[in-house]
Each structure stands twice: as structure tokens, then as C-alpha cells.
């Protein structure tokens, strides 16, 4: 074989070896153990601290029993306390640590209630352009008991 052809094939072989080498560095060791993902990620995720306490913990100790009993029979019973009030794992363990204030912006309510074609027709949705004159939703609607205006 001509020397220049040898060189170009050498270059090609180096490129392929380089690819295999970089791949071996980048692909995590535990990749593919269980499936098409990094197996160690299962442990990593398991070791994350628990941030949420769950809605039951809000009513359990009769701390927020009144509002809890209203909410639990309302149309919003499938929307957990922490959806609006923020993760309160720490707050449940130590009441001195307050959870972040509830998100009561129009856009936040709109995540579920702004009109979208992809939503079932009978699901309550509004067109933010023509409904409510840019007032906060909670000005008229009670989030703990929707329709209780």
C-alpha cells in the first residue's frame, strides 16, 4: 500500500479508537444494568431527602383541621396542599420553619384553568384575556373550595 494511503487509514483508525475511548469515559459504568439508563441513578434518586409531607400531615395533627376538612370535600381535593403552598416536609417537622407562601398568581391557576384545546370540554377553563379583568383569581374564587365565591 502507498504510504499516503497508510497514513489516511491510520488517521481513520485513530479516530475510531478515539471515539471508543471517549465513549468509555463518558458512558457511566452502571449504564444498561437494568435497562437503557444509568442503574446507579436509582440509588441516587432514592437518597434524595424527602421534601414533601403530604396533604394528610396538614390535617393529621389538627393543626389545619378546619381548612383541611373544607378542602377535602371540595372540587380541588385532587390538588394537594403542597401544590400551591410549596413543599412543607421541614415545616411538618418543625413548625417554626414556615413553608413558602402559596402561589396565588393568575398564571399559576392558569396552568390548569386557562383555555386549551387539549383539555376536556367540561373542565373549568377561562380565557384570561376576557375573564376577570386581570384580577387575582383568589379575589373572587376560593381555592380551598372552588365555586364558593
Amino acid at each position: 500500500m502507498q504510504p499516503h494511503l497508510k497514513r489516511v487509514f491510520m488517521l481513520l483508525v485513530i479516530a475510531i479508537i478515539g471515539f471508543v475511548f471517549v465513549r468509555s469515559l463518558i458512558v457511566p459504568d452502571s449504564f444498561g444494568e437494568y435497562g437503557w439508563y444509568r442503574a446507579n441513578s436509582v440509588n441516587d434518586i432514592r437518597n434524595f431527602p424527602v421534601k414533601h409531607a403530604g396533604s394528610a400531615s396538614c390535617g393529621d395533627e389538627s393543626c389545619h383541621a378546619a381548612i383541611y376538612s373544607i378542602w377535602k370535600d371540595s372540587g380541588h381535593k385532587t390538588v394537594n396542599c403542597e401544590t400551591c403552598h410549596g413543599a412543607s416536609g421541614e415545616h411538618a417537622n418543625n413548625i417554626r420553619i414556615l413553608p413558602t407562601p402559596a402561589n396565588d398568581s393568575r398564571d399559576f391557576c392558569g396552568l390548569c384553568h386557562f383555555k386549551r384545546v387539549a383539555r376536556p370540554e367540561n373542565f373549568p377553563q377561562i380565557d384570561p384575556e376576557i375573564h376577570g379583568e386581570n384580577l387575582q383569581c383568589t379575589y373572587c374564587h376560593n381555592p380551598h373550595k372552588p365555586w364558593f365565591v
Partner: protein, 388 residues
């Protein structure tokens, strides 16, 4: 506003059309690559001497477009740095996972083919220039300057073998892009085993048309006479592949209509309403019918070379537009019909957006910039401009 775009019943996840104009561009650019490469192999493999003036130019064109072929996909992903993952950990059940490998293989073949066919020029330039040019060309020559008769003969032999590998890999690369769509069984407009070969034929058609346009344009810019024999030969192949392309495209529609499976109502609605203009008007009428007649006339008319050149140029422009419309009709058309088979949505392109028309135009312009840089480094002009 969105309701006005929707007719009938569509599933919630179809409310937004995910594959935008960038995904139209992906098979379009890949097709131009495959087409240009196959045009060059008409000379390199099949020894069609009349194509010789554009053979090396076609390879450079193929490379310029090949280098940006993945760009629409990476832009669409929004995380281009993750693109390489498809090669590091390809999922074997996904048709897309092979793309990185097929693309890389093809890139190597085209790169080697160009290197071999330009090696003599590269070595001469390396030996005759000074400064940064000497460094550049010496590096390109891999610091091996043997251009003896024997070495060049070896190069030619290897180039021919590579071109022989190149044809099936070009066909594979583009047929594969067709397969990505043709293999989606949930979509009645895409799911057909004919898709890869339809894509391949339209790829060849668009690639040859692009080559014709670039050839005419570069000769006009360089103020040099056009080799009409070469031009007519290219037009001749364009015409043959146009017929094949049209036959397959129409065969698919005919068999869909004849079989009249449950999908036919929505397909009819797609063809008669949603993509009527881009399908019958642009893809078939402008992109196939008019070029077919014009090139037929080129074959009949005697002399009058300028008129014939204009006719070929117009045909090529129409073909390039028509094939873009074909990609549009497949990619966008397929998403405009619902998998419920009883509803449609409408794609409205936006201009200033990462998924918009502007990035599509930019991506489509990059190959021409690359081509002008490549032709500056590796001028293919001496094939096109024989000393008179």
C-alpha cells in the same frame, strides 16, 4: 385562536405540532447530499465522461450539505450537546439510533473520496506555496507528497472502490431517512414500505437539480462558458429520475385510494384540503410536471443553447422547490391529520423562533458558505474550465 385551526376530533397530544419546519429541512438537506453524491458517481463509477466537469464539484457540494445535515435536528432538540449520546448509547429498538453511525460512515466515505480525487492538487499546492498555505496543504496531504503515476493510479483505484461503496451508503443514508417516517405505523400518511425509495428518488432528483443550478451559477459568476454537453447530460438524468420519482409517488397515492382502508377518508381530506396546494400545485405540478415538459423540450429543440440552458435552469429551480414541498407534505402533512383518523390540525410556521422559519433559512444558507470556502481551498474549476 387554536380552535379555528382544528377540525373534527384530535387527541390532546396532537394539539401542538411538534415536528416543525426544521424537521422538513432534515430530509431535504440529507436528500441533496445523496443526490449530489450519486450525480458524481455517474462519472466515478459508471464512467459517464460527459459528467466529468462537475464530478469533483458534486463531491464538494455533497460534503457542504452533509456537514449541516444534522444541524436542523440538533437545533430542534434544543440541546445540541446531547446529540452525540445517540452514538454513545444507541437504543437498538429505535430506528433513529442508527443515524449517527450511518451518517458518520457516509461522512468518512465522502471525505476520503474528496481527498483522493483532490490529492494531486493538494500536493502540488503544498509544494508550490509558502506560509500558512504550505502548512494547510501539507496537513491536508498528510505530509506525504508522492504523486507519481503509480501513486495516482492507486488513488484512482481506491476512489472508484469507495464510490462503489458510496452509492449504496448514499442510498442507505437517504432511504433510511425515509424509513424513519415509513416505519411509523401509527401514522397513516407515513406508514408505507415505499417511503424509503420515494425519499431516495426525490433525493436524487433534488441533488441533480441543485448541482445543475450550482454549476450554472458558478460558471456565470466566474464568467466562463458552460459545457452544454455536461449540462444536457445532467438534465437527461434529472428527467429519468423525475419519472421514477413521480411513478413511485403517484403509485403510493393510487394504492392508498384503491385499497381504501379505514384511513382513506382522512387521507382524502388531507389531499383535497390541508395540503392540496403544496401537493398538487407545488410538488406535482411545479416540481415534476413543468420540469418534465421543459426538459422534454430541451431534448427536442435543436441548437439555441442559451434558451435550453434557461429552460434547464428553470426546471431545476422548480424541482428544488417541488422536492422541498414533498418533504413538507410528508412531515407537516403527516402531523396535520389526527391518529383518531377523524380530525385535522393546522401547522402555522412562526418566523422568529428557535423552531421558526428564520433558523431554517440560516441553516439552508450555511452549506453555500461552506461550499464557497471548500471551493476556495480545493478549487474544482479546472475540470469545468478546460483551457481553450
Amino acid at each position: 385562536m387554536m380552535e379555528s385551526l382544528i377540525w373534527g376530533y384530535i387527541y390532546p397530544n396532537e394539539a401542538e405540532i411538534q415536528w416543525s419546519i426544521l424537521i422538513v429541512l432534515y430530509p431535504y438537506i440529507t436528500g441533496l447530499v445523496a443526490g449530489a453524491f450519486i450525480a458524481s458517481s455517474l462519472y466515478h463509477v459508471f464512467g459517464k465522461k460527459e459528467i466529468k466537469p462537475v464530478a469533483r464539484f458534486a463531491l464538494l457540494t455533497a460534503l457542504s450539505f452533509l456537514l449541516v445535515a444534522t444541524m436542523p435536528l440538533l437545533t430542534h432538540l434544543g440541546h445540541p450537546e446531547r446529540g452525540i449520546e445517540i452514538m454513545f448509547t444507541p437504543h437498538v429498538t429505535s430506528a433513529m439510533s442508527g443515524f449517527g453511525y450511518i451518517y458518520s460512515f457516509y461522512l468518512i466515505v465522502v471525505g476520503l473520496e474528496i481527498w483522493l480525487s483532490f490529492r494531486e492538487d493538494i500536493v502540488k499546492k503544498a509544494l508550490n506555496s509558502r506560509g500558512w498555505k504550505e502548512v494547510l496543504y501539507s496537513a491536508l496531504a498528510l505530509f506525504s507528497y508522492d504523486i507519481s503515476e503509480k501513486a495516482l493510479h492507486e488513488d484512482e483505484k481506491l476512489a472508484k472502490r469507495l464510490a462503489i461503496i458510496g452509492i449504496p451508503s448514499a442510498a442507505f443514508l437517504h432511504g433510511y431517512v425515509g424509513f424513519i417516517f415509513g416505519g411509523i405505523k401509527a401514522n397513516p400518511w407515513w406508514s408505507t414500505p415505499l417511503m424509503p425509495i420515494i425519499f431516495l428518488m426525490s433525493a436524487i432528483v433534488s441533488g441533480i437539480a441543485l448541482l445543475i443550478l450550482l454549476y450554472i451559477a458558478s460558471m456565470k459568476i466566474r464568467k466562463h462558458a458552460i459545457d452544454h454537453k455536461c449540462l444536457h447530460s445532467l438534465a437527461h438524468y434529472l428527467w429519468i429520475f423525475l419519472i421514477l420519482d413521480f411513478t413511485l409517488e403517484i403509485l403510493e397515492i393510487i394504492s392508498m385510494k384503491y385499497e381504501s382502508l379505514e384511513r382513506i377518508d382522512i387521507i382524502n381530506r388531507l389531499l383535497s384540503d390541508k395540503i392540496a396546494t403544496t401537493f398538487y400545485g407545488v410538488q406535482i405540478g411545479l416540481g415534476i410536471f413543468i420540469p418534465f415538459i421543459l426538459i422534454l423540450l430541451v431534448g427536442i429543440i435543436k441548437n439555441r443553447e442559451t434558451l435550453k440552458m434557461i429552460m434547464i435552469a428553470i426546471s431545476s429551480i422548480f424541482v428544488v422547490i417541488g422536492v422541498f414541498a414533498m418533504r413538507w407534505n410528508v412531515v407537516i402533512g403527516g402531523q396535520e391529520i389526527s391518529k383518531s383518523l377523524s380530525g385535522t390540525n393546522t401547522y402555522v410556521p412562526v418566523f422568529f423562533n428557535l423552531e421558526g422559519v428564520l433558523p431554517a433559512i440560516i441553516i439552508l444558507l450555511i452549506p453555500f458558505i461552506i461550499l464557497s470556502v471548500l471551493t476556495y481551498i480545493l478549487p474544482p474549476w479546472k475540470d469545468m474550465e478546460p483551457e481553450e
